[in-house]
Amino acid sequence: MSGFSVNEPSRRMKWFAGILVVFYALVTLMPLLWIIATGFKSPADSIAYPPKVIFRPTLEGYVNLFTTQTRITPDMEEGLEPPKNWVEQIVRDKGMVIAGPSRYVQRFMNSVIIGFGSTFLSVFLGTLAAYAFSRFRVPIKDDLLFFILSTRMMPPIAVAIPIFLMFRQLGLSDTHMGMILLYTAVNLSLSVWLLKGFIDEIPLEYEEAALIDGYTRFQAFYKVVLPQAMTGIASTAIFCLIFAWNEYAFAVLLTSGEAQTAPPFIPTIIGVGGQDWPAVAAGASIFLLPVMVITILLRKHLLRGITFGAVRK
């Protein structure tokens, strides 16, 4: 090989392609940048015309997100102490006082608990099942695998009707446990399919060697296969987590208070007189940023995750 390939694009072509792709990327990122920027705007700036690109950043949106406030009435005014910190100062400048914390932190924590709980369960169950599907002759294996995948095709609303009834009877509606079980079941298809692909790639010889050395099947599984599959398990876990994190349909139908996650909550953040966009944007920013960071870290495994392991790079 001379190092020359006929398929190598010309220099001009590369520039042309690069400029178009960068242009698309900038356009497509605008809404996301706008969310982050709006979080730092004052309510007046957020609804200014023309839309403000340069503005004085303020944390008012974040303060509104985390607190509930009441307007200062004339008879309250005398007994009022001077604001103790910058948070109170921001609120006081609007003629309000902090009445208490908002429910955002609780909803966010619900997302964390349900997300991590269901991820742990679905990866745990998925690893076991994937190992069995990969290594043993399971009767009607293909049918079972297809059955597992097909559960993903059902519209969530269609399944939600009986689950709603079932959860009501079992006392699981609006509980962390109910949502964790539900998301685990939904994520199982993803985790089994992805992990089967990862385990298939681990050469059988390692295990055979271990079995000959006197390991039992279980030992071979957790001493040889598990460590080898760790990267696969980690990226599967992240995909399950992102699904549970983003899920909305089940959450909005089956939770209302105690176990409500952030996605159904964020759109309901209302300020005084209409939607408080900086607060919504602040809530969205905090909620979306972790996923953006994870996506960038995960870029090598992205394709595999989103296609259930059908496309491997």
């Binding site: 398929n7 072509m13 590369k14 042309f16 392609a17 690069g18 792709v21 960068v22 698309y24 497509t28 809404p31 996301l32 706008w34 015309y49 023309p50 839309p51 998925g126 076991l128 099942a129 069995a132 043993f136 002759r137 399971v138 079972l144 059955f147 559960t151 095709m153 059902m154 519209p155 969530p156 609303i157 269609a158 009707i161 009986p162 689950i163 709603f164 009834l165 079932m166 079980l181 199982l188 089994v192 099947r217 957790y222 001493k223 460590p227 992102i242 983003n246 909305y248 349909a249 996605p263 964020i266 759109p267 919504v280 944007a281 969205a284 909620f287 953006m292 870029r299 394709l303 790079k313």
Partner: protein, 315 residues
Amino acid sequence: MAENAMDRIARATPPGVARKIRGLSDRAIAWIFVGPSIFLLLAINIFPLIWTIRLSFTNFRVNRINAPVKWIGLRNYERILTDPDIWQTMQATAHFLFWTIFFQVLIGFTLAWLINKKFRGNDLWTTLIVLPMMLSPAVVGNFWTFLYQPQIGLFNYVVAFFTGADPSSFSMIGSIDLAPWAIVIVDTWMWTPFVMLICLAGLRSIPDSIYEAAEIDRASKWRQFWTITIPLVLPFLMMAVLFRGIENFKMFDLVVQLTGGGPGSVTTLTSIDLKREAFEKWRTGYASAYAVILFVTIFGLASIYVKALNKVKER
């Protein structure tokens, strides 16, 4: 670390239990490993599905628990299939499905083709382009209503800036003509990267040697594109369409947050309509029949499509 922990667990296992486990046949282990997953899926997916099918033959309503439940046979199905409103939502869904897939394939493939020109920094830009699809559709959809505000919305401002129209003269989500396109735009914005990534994998899977052979045969670039690139990427592209098709047929979160199905019912996709029947009008039996019809439709279309996909792959 993990191995040490495992060793400790192994040592801590009582000898009796250990002997029992050791004695298990592969077949038994297989069932122990697969069992819990299958059980959970049966409990949370299949059992509810069977329940839905059963309910679909009744006039049960969740909000009237004490009312007598009557077995009404196929009446629910009959009413759904002859209801013109439902055909309207089916049309809205078809419009949404067709145009989102059309734009996502067009833009996604073009982007993949451009990225495959391997310009410097293409990895970085690919990763940035992918970001929207990983985010919560409900949260992002909700924010798009802000971008779509007449006058103050960024989207309207940008469109007005380039077309010279008055930014308050049109409302993407308030107008009957524009709302179906408003949801197509946001879905395309969100999911084009998905099609792009899969196409990119397809393009990268084509070995250089094929192009080199074509070059020796003096095939023009244009011909190479149509006789090598397109046929070899087609199975990937079709798979991307399958994924997007199923997902968009089920579409709920993004559109509910964007338009809530309005104005009127022009963006009431089937899932949104179903949600109204089941959880707002509480016509549980009727909604169950609706759900069964949807599921059968998705399943049927997907199976036919997968058959076609396999044919393309075999070629």
